[in-house]
Symmetry: C2
Subunit: 180 residues, 2 copies
Amino acid sequence: MKLGMARGEVCLRVSAILVLVLTACLVALDTQTKVVFISIEKKATYKDLNALKILVYVTCAAAGYNLLLLCKHSIWSRKNFKGSYLCMAWICFSLDQIAVYMTFAANTATMGAAVLAISGSEAFQWLKVCDKFTRFCVEIGGALLCGYAASMLMALISTISAYKVFRMYSPKWFLRLKSA
Amino acid sequence: MKLGMARGEVCLRVSAILVLVLTACLVALDTQTKVVFISIEKKATYKDLNALKILVYVTCAAAGYNLLLLCKHSIWSRKNFKGSYLCMAWICFSLDQIAVYMTFAANTATMGAAVLAISGSEAFQWLKVCDKFTRFCVEIGGALLCGYAASMLMALISTISAYKVFRMYSPKWFLRLKSA
């Protein structure tokens, strides 16, 4: 059964990596060129908006982090480092939490900017950008969906990490470890 | 020691409520009036931007949720519902997770829009709004800081909830409860 959980975690991490890479590719490779005024062309890329740039960097970093933990998984096992298992589990739990919040934050900040690009803002006199660059916006929307799927996978992974840490503690005494 | 943890959780929840209410007040009561053109005045409020409206609603909802859990805490105790303790702990953990992600998302979406308001966007021809309404923007910035403080408090609370759930499971067997 323990092997089952380990395999489940590996599956989750591999899927998270795939979805994160897909998100980064969707955003980074998304371009659309439009004629704005007679012969002046304008090209929309992810570099036009800081939020999109940050999204690409963060998803790449998160994918790299998950890949690193996959490698760690296959090299270190509980038997090799019995004494420092709890320490390792705490570090993994903390890093997983940071990774999921960073990915979620990058996605949501982009979402906030995307909603403004779709609806514009009358009060701020901001134009609706998506009226012109529709295909570009649709692709970013797809990337955001992928990004949220990745965030959910990573939230699941961090729940498993929490389970791995906290099951070592006694149910009766506060923060006391179980006797072996 | 168990009492210590319960008291710690109550303290965290009370501080989270206070900071959430402060955030909602800072955003909702923030207004600035400026003369835009000779005699035309423009008033900036949180209603000008959807992200700010959502931030107010979400922080109020999160404060209400934490207040509800505080009440639950004082009425129900582990001794009254011994059998359903694990079920209750799972529900609290899930709700806490949802609450912290919602608060964090509302904050970060507002942050995304706020960065655009500060820096504008040349590619999109969006003006810098904060050049005109500086005091308004500074107050929103303060509210965002409070919002992130609240998110951190709630992340801590959800870690405690995770601890309460997962310490009930056996460290040796996958998802098997510890024998009493």
